[in-house]
């Protein structure tokens, strides 16, 4: 039995005894009237003795006590009661209660007392008493002589009750409207409470969640996991935290994040659990999407043989995807994560080329794009295409590069096969051309000897056409070589003017309309590829002839500028529109338009020329006014530096 209840019982016992003693007292009092007559002294003595005992008891109790006769005269009032009424006992004893406190008569309490006086029934009542601005608990005990009442100020207790009630209301409001589901269980996991949100998420009302009902809406696939985690949390006295699913009776599945803590009593003993569940379905869906898209990306990269890297320059840190490691023939995590660990995998013959390119890219924050070979740990060689871009968020210095490597070995093999094919094809084409040319020249000579000049000149024209065919085959072969980086140079030392004169004379033979004028000759020795420069000059002059069908002259200037020899070929033909000017050196480009569409050619000549000039460390450019003509110029060093072997 709790301590408080015990006290309460003792208190009640005491009060009962007190009421009994009061009745005795009344008996004595009544008897006392007779005593005055019979033996005053003896009776007075008894009276005063009893009075002392009773009043001693009444003054020690914490309740207020008042005793009335039938006329509501106060027979006795203890100090506690007088204090509550803000009076002194001696001022009130013998006074009429309603006369002293008229305003109390019509209160709920007053009416109750009067009722009890009439029907002689004991009553218990608790209420707020406005005149004293306090809560009282009152017990009314009528007797045949009058009435006694005990009362207690219970205001402070009422306040606590009120606060408790308020906090309960607050808790209820809070949990009801909370955006998360809230639940409470006892120590055995029996559900004691769930809020609105919980019921909404679970799709069941509290009545069904009660007890062990809540376990039914946990997704079957997650049930075991939840119980294991719960058990762990209980035994290790940890916070329960888990993501799991609810499945409503209708079959709707939602993902939840659940948290729970134990509830303890004042002694620190666990009496139950309280927890929350929040809906993370959309987050889960987003996560799932992300995982899927990552998987897709990985799969695509793997299928496309693409590896991704990130290079943090200041830290010299390179991050690789597992796919990139695979491409480089390494197992996951084998790559060393620095620039050095990468460059040592690059084929020794390509290191210089790659590093030079990277240096330029870093200096200009440009795009990284280069093809190179790598050496696999097993000694195999693979071709890679590396591309990437720098991200310079805050400074001008390249700091972070993100890019990819693509395995282009198969493509390179095909390219090589294509190059070889074109190389063989052009060789095979040249063989019949060589014999036709030979036959033609013999035939021409025979006809000349017979004096058949006209027939001889026709055969001569056939020979000219064969030369054009030879040039076309040569151009195709040259382009293939340029693309493959195999354009070979043969350096010779010669007097530059000899070459120009030779080419101009040969080209003069191909045109009757134009006079080729050679100006400001250069008699210096020059060291470069004689045949290739001859090819460039031939090309420029043949273009000048082709694109100035109505002009009568073409001027060829050559001069020394610094340590370069510069050659310009000026025509007075159709010219090049400004917007096309920069494109004329591109492969397959041809100046087109209503007036120029009829010009023949593969569109390879200027591309080959510009590649040759570049390889000879020179440059080529054009100045032109549409309708007035063009001037194509190139300059090459007087002495070309020997180039490093690129294989």
């Amino acid at each position: 039995m709790p301590e408080s209840k015990k006290l309460q019982k003792e208190n009640l016992d005491l009060k009962r005894k007190l009421a009994e003693s009061q009745d005795e007292l009344r008996a004595i009092q009544e008897g006392a009237v007779d005593a005055v007559v019979v033996g005053r002294n003896k009776k007075t003595h008894i009276y005063s003795l009893a009075n002392t005992i009773v009043s001693n008891i009444l003054e020690t109790i914490t309740d207020g006590f008042v005793s009335f006769d039938e006329k509501w005269n106060i027979l006795y009032i203890n100090h506690q009661a007088a204090k509550t009424l803000s009076r002194k006992p001696e001022d009130l004893v013998g006074k009429n209660f309603w006369k002293e406190f008229p305003s109390y008569k019509n209160t709920v309490f007053g009416k109750l007392y009067q009722k009890s006086m009439k029907d002689k029934k004991a009553r218990f009542y608790e209420d707020y008493f406005a005149p004293l601005n306090a809560w009282f608990s009152v017990r009314v005990y009528p007797s045949k002589f009058g009435l006694s009442l005990y009362f207690q100020d219970i205001t402070s207790q009422k306040k606590v009750d009120e606060l408790l009630k308020q906090s309960e209301t607050k808790f209820y409001t809070l949990t009801t409207n909370a955006p998360v589901g809230i639940f409470m269980t006892d120590i055995d996991g029996n559900c004691l409470y769930v809020n609105e949100m919980w019921q909404k998420l679970a799709g069941i009302p509290f009545a069904k969640a009660k007890g062990q009902g809540w376990t039914k809406i946990i997704h079957p696939a997650d049930r075991e996991k939840v119980f294991i985690e719960w058990q762990k949390a209980v035994t290790k006295k940890k916070i329960f935290h888990l993501e799991y699913r609810f499945q409503t009776p209708e079959g709707k599945v939602s993902w939840l994040e659940g948290n729970a803590v134990s509830l303890k009593n004042d002694q620190g003993k666990i009496i139950g659990y309280i927890g929350t569940v929040s809906d993370i379905t959309s987050r889960k869906a987003a996560e799932e999407k992300l995982i899927h898209s990552q998987e897709r990306l990985m799969l695509a990269q793997s299928a496309g043989k693409i590896g991704t890297f990130e290079w943090l320059l200041p830290e010299n840190k390179v991050i690789w995807t597992p796919e990139l490691e695979r491409l480089y023939g390494m197992s996951e995590g084998e790559f060393g994560n620095t620039y050095e660990s990468w460059i040592k995998r690059v084929h020794p013959d390509d290191v210089e080329k790659v590093e030079k390119h990277l240096k330029e890219v870093i200096a200009h924050s440009g795009m990284y794009n280069i093809e190179f070979r790598i050496m696999l740990p097993d000694g195999a060689i693979k071709w890679m295409l590396g591309t990437g871009a720098f991200f310079n968020r805050d400074t001008k210095n390249a700091k972070r590069m993100v890019g990819i490597n693509i395995d282009i070995t198969a493509r390179k093999l095909l390219e090589k096969q294509k190059d070889e094919f074109i190389s063989i094809a052009s060789h095979e084409l040249k063989t019949p051309v060589t014999s036709i040319k030979g036959y033609g020249q013999v035939l021409k000579m025979m006809l000349e000897q017979k004096g058949e000049a006209k027939a001889a000149s026709i055969v001569g024209k056939m020979d000219g056409q064969l030369n054009k065919l030879t040039d076309l085959i040569g151009d195709l072969l040259d382009v293939t070589k340029i693309e493959a980086g195999r354009l070979q140079l043969t350096l010779n030392k010669f007097v530059f003017n000899d070459l120009v004169t030779e080419v101009v004379e040969a080209m003069q033979l191909t045109t009757d309309k134009h006079k080729l004028i050679q100006k400001s000759n250069v008699y210096n020795f020059i060291k470069t590829d004689r045949d290739r420069i001859g090819q460039v000059l031939t090309n420029l002059i043949s273009n000048a002839i082709k694109y100035s069908p109505h002009a009568t002259k073409i001027i060829i200037y050559s001069e020394i500028v610094d340590s370069y020899v510069q050659v310009c070929v000026q025509d007075f033909g159709v010219g090049i529109p400004k917007d096309k000017k920069d494109h004329v050196f591109e492969r397959f480009f041809r100046v087109s338009g209503p007036n120029t569409s009829t010009f023949p050619g593969l569109g390879l000549g200027l591309y080959i020329s510009s590649e040759i000039v570049k390889r000879l460390d020179g440059k080529i450019w054009v100045e032109s006014i549409k309708g007035r003509g063009s001037t194509f110029c190139f300059r090459i060093p007087l002495k070309k530096k020997p180039e490093r072997k690129n294989k």
Binding site: S423, S426, H427, K430, T431, P432, V433, T434, S435, K437, G438, Y439, Q441, V442, M445, M446, L466, T470, K481, R486, Q488, T490, D531
Partner: protein, 119 residues
């Protein structure tokens, strides 16, 4: 009468070259088989015209053999090819000169005259 040995795996080219050279009064011996070039030293050629891409045989290998032969080592060898890129490697194999196909008759005659005069 100068004697020219021509080796090429294309009979038409051989015929055309033979016709040209005969117009200029040379005696011409030809072969389409690169393997027999060395044996043809019995004709004592003054100049040898040698194609590089012979079926099954590399003209440069033939050239090295010719240049190692005591009888032929002083005979000028002019290599001919449709590829200009072998100019350097042909010289490395010991050839005295190189002529790219297709060529002008005058060009061929110039080369031949240059080396027949020297011999």
């Amino acid at each position: 009468m100068k004697r020219i040995l021509v080796a090429d795996d294309d009979p038409s080219i051989l015929e055309a070259i033979q016709l040209m050279l005969e117009i200029y009064g040379y005696t011409v011996d030809t072969t389409v088989d690169g393997k027999v070039v060395e044996k043809m030293k019995i004709f004592k050629p003054d100049v040898i015209l040698l194609d590089i891409w012979m079926s099954g045989v590399d003209g440069r290998d033939i050239c090295r053999k010719l240049k190692a032969d005591t009888l032929l080592c002083k005979t000028p060898v002019i290599m001919i090819s449709a590829s200009k890129d072998v100019r350097v490697s042909s010289k490395e194999s010991g050839a005295d000169d190189f002529l790219a196909k297709p060529f002008e008759m005058e060009e061929l005659i110039q080369y031949i005259e240059k080396y027949t005069k020297a011999s």
